[in-house]
């Protein structure tokens, strides 16, 4: 039941938000998101690691087709629900000082999207999953398209088309799987779409082989994995900061999560057949993203490409099909979410003060803004995966997983750490250090509200870095279950 409340609360809040105007809407939205976070924390505190599928709720949805409204959480879902509900208030707070037209609509869309995201992470029914997947997409399209930059119409259109085409392939795959299932234990329909029956299908190797690509298409676009990534840098750059944070901090994880939950255990032979290819694509993405990031002149674009590189590593870890790799992916989803949201926030703070994002125009911010510099440095080192930060735990486990699968691939993927250090430290040097530029003469340090956004992120950078077991412990059972399903068949 708790999951249902987690799903319904943001929608209800979004609808109620229409009665608030201007500043009141901002406060109300933030309050609602905070309540949602408290609920998620309550779920985490009462969560029993030794049981799978908790807080579940199963009710008929489309009885005639055997489709149920089935939601529930295991450790992996819980981690991502925590991430979502934690980041949404942060993102709302981050847009606190911005002048947003039609504020109540903007915040309502963010809350509405939160429902979609929580739904994706908790759905236990294939059609519910697809439904929520699209529910999360529609608000972000409007967030990016209505409040975005100059080229927004064109860029968001491309983004929408890419994702929807990917999703339709996934839907086609799900429909095929649906017709392979038998009737549910209770119910009159001839088929059902519950995750458990998808896990228990007897599919031939050949079927799995093409089903793999149908289902993977949606996840590959969403992550995005090379070569399905071309929408990503433009969309990240053109979207307003809160939308970029939602996209990179949370939405990207839908793809990784989808692979872990709906791809590996459902078509394991298909996965083992294409595992090598996906790993190669992921590793190309890692190197390619990093090399392009080095050449970027725009702070936001640089972070976008860095994100592309990092998500490649997560994909590689997942497709290594090792426990350590999957565990690495689950903790790296958290770490990356925190770091990338922080980085985009700082990029946005700089842009708002100077009116430029071009690295060449910036320089010498350290002297005017020491607090901002420190915050930036911490998040940056987290991204570079310095030991004791959150990024290190994830990247170490991921690389170990890839290494376990294939030592050569592990070695090539490991280059990401070096390259990340190259482009991120170089950016830091040119933006924060060095001589002043005309744009930065009147630069001011972080305000209290901005610090309030960054402080929890920075706390988490160290918290996850120092005590990763608290989080790894949560996902361990789920990861083992997923791998058992893969091995079973």
């Amino acid at each position: 039941m708790l999951t249902v409340i987690l799903l319904l609360w943001p929608v209800a809040a979004a609808l109620l938000l229409h009665f608030f105007k201007g500043g009141a809407a901002r406060v109300a939205a933030f309050g609602a998101a905070l309540v949602e976070f408290v609920l998620a924390v309550y779920a985490a505190l009462t969560f029993n690691v030794n049981h799978s599928g908790q807080f579940s709720f199963n009710h008929e949805w489309i009885a005639s087709a055997g489709i149920n409204f089935h939601v529930g959480m295991d450790g992996l879902s819980l981690l991502l629900v925590l991430l979502t509900t934690f980041l949404v208030p942060i993102i709302l707070l981050a847009s606190y000082r911005r002048n947003i037209e039609n504020e109540s609509v903007f915040y309502a869309l963010v809350l509405f999207m939160e429902t979609g995201l929580v739904g994706v992470f908790t759905a236990q029914d294939a059609f519910l999953f697809y439904f929520m997947w699209e529910v999360a997409l529609i608000p972000i399209y409007f967030l990016a398209g209505v409040w975005g930059g100059e080229n927004r119409a064109k860029v968001t259109f491309k983004f929408f088309l890419y994702t929807i085409v990917g999703s339709l392939f996934m839907l086609a795959g799900f429909v095929y799987l649906y017709f392979q299932t038998g009737p549910a234990a209770s119910g009159l329909a001839a088929h059902n779409s519950d995750i458990a029956s998808f896990y228990n299908l007897n599919l031939s190797v050949q079927e799995q082989s093409w089903l793999f690509w149908l289902i993977f298409a949606a996840f590959a676009v969403k992550m995005p994995i090379f070569p399905f990534h071309t929408w990503q840098p433009d969309t990240y750059t053109e979207s307003p900061a809160p939308a970029t944070m939602l996209l990179s901090g949370i939405m990207l994880k839908m793809g990784i999560y989808g692979c872990m939950r709906w791809l590996l255990p459902v078509v394991p032979s298909g996965v083992s057949q294409w595992q090598n290819l996906v790993l190669i694509l992921a590793i190309i993405g890692i190197i390619y993203g990093a090399i392009i990031a080095i050449r970027q002149q725009d702070v936001k674009r640089l972070i976008a490409y860095s994100s592309l590189s990092h998500v490649g590593l997560m994909a590689a870890g997942v497709f290594s099909l090792t426990q350590i790799g999957l565990q690495g992916a689950s903790i790296q989803m958290l770490a990356h979410g925190i770091n990338v949201v922080g980085m985009f926030f700082i990029a946005d703070a700089i842009e708002r003060r100077t009116g430029t994002r071009a690295i060449a125009n910036l320089g010498g911010l350290t002297r005017q803004a020491p607090v901002l510099t420190v915050c930036f440095l911490v998040l940056l080192l987290g991204t570079v995966a310095l030991p004791l930060t959150n990024g290190f735990v994830g990247e170490f486990l991921l690389l170990a997983g890839v290494y376990e699968y294939n030592a050569w691939m592990g070695a090539v993927a490991g280059v990401t750490i070096i390259l990340a250090a190259v482009y991120l430290l170089r950016m830091f040097q040119r933006v924060m250090l060095g001589p002043d530029s005309s744009f930065t003469a009147t630069f001011t340090d972080l305000t209290g509200a901005e610090l309030a956004v960054l402080a929890p992120l920075i706390v988490l950078v160290f918290w996850i870095g120092l005590f990763p077991n608290m989080f790894l412990h949560l996902s361990e059972g789920s990861v083992m279950n997923i791998l058992n399903e893969v091995v079973k068949r």
């Binding site: 005639s64 699209e134 209505v146 339709l168």
Partner: protein, 469 residues
């Protein structure tokens, strides 16, 4: 049956109301009549099959459900005729009466059990539409549309009639069940070719009425010339009734394997062609109205998939799919045409740029249009998604995977043109012709709100209506 009697009587009554010379009374009266018909119609629900006129008409759940769709659609459409009321349109009573009479035709089309009733129903519906297409009589385009629709329509009526005659010649009866029996147990093999030709000619006639390719060519021109209000009626009511009749024809009359061998490949080819022409044609349009016309062709294609994938009975997955799809499509299309009419009436333009900045001037209109477009594109949270989902599932279940894949690719194409109005409304700025807010009465707002709500209810709780047949 009650609904046919009531619609005819109320249609006549409505004509007499016109003598009062007060248009203000007409709209509420017409809506009240339709609400009454909608309610009375539901009384027959689950009453079993009731035959009338020597079994020429049969009222069963199938006909009640589709009657509900067409009456509801007309009811929700009526508020958009308010401009006629305000402008003191002299012929308003006639317009409303023609709509009510054409609904009689629609009800006959969904309830027929005898080919003559099908023919009478189609003609009752069509003749009213020929008149309404030309109702803007000072507009050359409207005249052209009426003439085109009338000439083409009467020509295909002839073909349909010819087909009916040949089928009669081959089987000796007009009664659906008897034809079906005769098709399955042919007495004289030499008559089989005649039967098949008759069947295919009927297919042509029906294909024209629902604007399926290659008999769709009239659609864009006629829609463009027809006043928007009647174009909306044409693309929803005519299509829903037409598909119900089409489904009944194929499922009840020609389910025999030998007959299927002839019409099924034809229909499959028509279906693929309709999807292709409808979707690709819509991409090239600059006028929203023409885009909606091509979109209506493409939706005929999706509905045809439901026909192709039928499983031999009127209660099966594909009949339910067609019912759900018609409802979701009708609601979304009425919403789209309704918004377009309001915008076009004031801004005097029907292209995409005419919608620029609508989100800023009229958030409600923009929202409703968005919901309608997302529903037509088949994106979740709207009824259109589940409509497509049910139809595609029925087709996959019956093994038409290739056709479904093609339809899915085509609906990817459709996203391109359905997003264009959204982009115009939300992401483009107003210019001189578009910066004034559109005047919307509270009556119309309520109707638009209801349409959007209905689309979303169908999209969130499809279980309410998905398996009722």
């Amino acid at each position: 049956m009650n609904s046919i009697i009531l619609l005819s009587v109320l249609g006549l009554g409505n004509l007499f109301l016109g003598f009062l010379r007060s248009n203000r009374l007409l709209l509420p009266a017409a809506m009240l009549m339709l609400a009454l018909v909608f309610g009375i119609n539901l009384i027959d629900w689950n009453e079993g099959a009731q035959p009338f006129f020597n079994d020429m008409l049969v009222i069963d759940n199938f006909s009640v459900a589709f009657t509900g769709v067409v009456v509801l659609t007309t009811f929700l459409l009526l508020p958009f005729s308010q401009k006629y009321v305000r402008d003191g349109q002299a012929n308003l009573a006639e317009y409303y009466s023609l709509l009510l009479f054409s609904l009689v035709g629609a009800v006959m089309m969904v309830a027929y059990n005898h080919l003559l009733m099908l023919f009478v129903g189609i003609e009752t519906l069509s003749i009213a539409m020929y008149v309404l297409a030309g109702s803007d009589k000072r507009n050359l385009r409207s005249n052209e549309a009426a003439l085109k629709y009338f000439l083409m329509g009467s020509f295909t009526t002839g073909i349909l009639l010819f087909g009916i005659a040949l089928v009669y010649g081959a089987t000796g009866t007009f009664q659906l069940s008897q034809i079906s029996f005769a098709v399955q147990n042919p007495i004289n093999d030499s008559l089989q070719p005649m039967l098949y030709i008759g069947m295919l000619l009927m297919l042509v006639g029906m294909g024209f009425k629902v604007s399926a390719a290659p008999f769709h060519f009239w659609t864009p021109d006629v829609y463009e010339g027809t006043p928007t209000f009647f174009a909306a009626f044409m693309s929803t009511v005519v299509k829903a009734a037409g598909f119900a009749a089409f489904l009944k024809l194929m499922v009840q009359v020609f389910p025999a394997a030998s007959a299927q061998g002839v019409w099924l490949p034809t229909l499959t080819a028509m279906c693929a062609l309709t999807l292709l022409i409808g979707n690709v044609g819509a991409v090239a349009q600059t006028s929203v109205k023409r885009m909606l016309a091509y979109s209506s062709v493409s939706h005929a294609g999706y509905l045809l998939i439901g026909l192709v994938a039928f499983n031999g009975q009127l209660e099966g997955a594909s009949a339910n799919g067609i019912f759900f799809y018609s409802l979701a499509y009708s609601v979304a299309t009425v919403a789209a045409f309704g918004v377009l009419k309001l915008v076009a009436d004031q801004r005097q333009r029907e292209d995409y740029n005419g919608l620029n900045g609508l989100a800023k001037t009229n958030p409600l209109l923009a929202f409703v249009m968005t919901v309608a477009m997302l529903s037509l594109a088949g994106i979740p949270l709207t009824g259109g998604f589940f409509g497509k989902f049910f139809i595609f599932s029925a087709a996959v279940e019956n093994g038409y995977i290739g056709l479904v894949v093609f339809a899915v690719v085509m609906s990817m194409v459709s996203i391109y043109y359905y997003l264009r109005p959204i982009i115009a409304m939300y992401m483009r700025n107003t210019d001189v012709t578009t910066d004034e807010p559109i005047h919307v009465t509270s009556f119309q707002s309520a109707a638009l709100f209801l349409l959007a709500l209905l689309t979303m209810v169908l999209g969130v709780l499809p279980g309410l209506l998905s398996g009722i047949l």
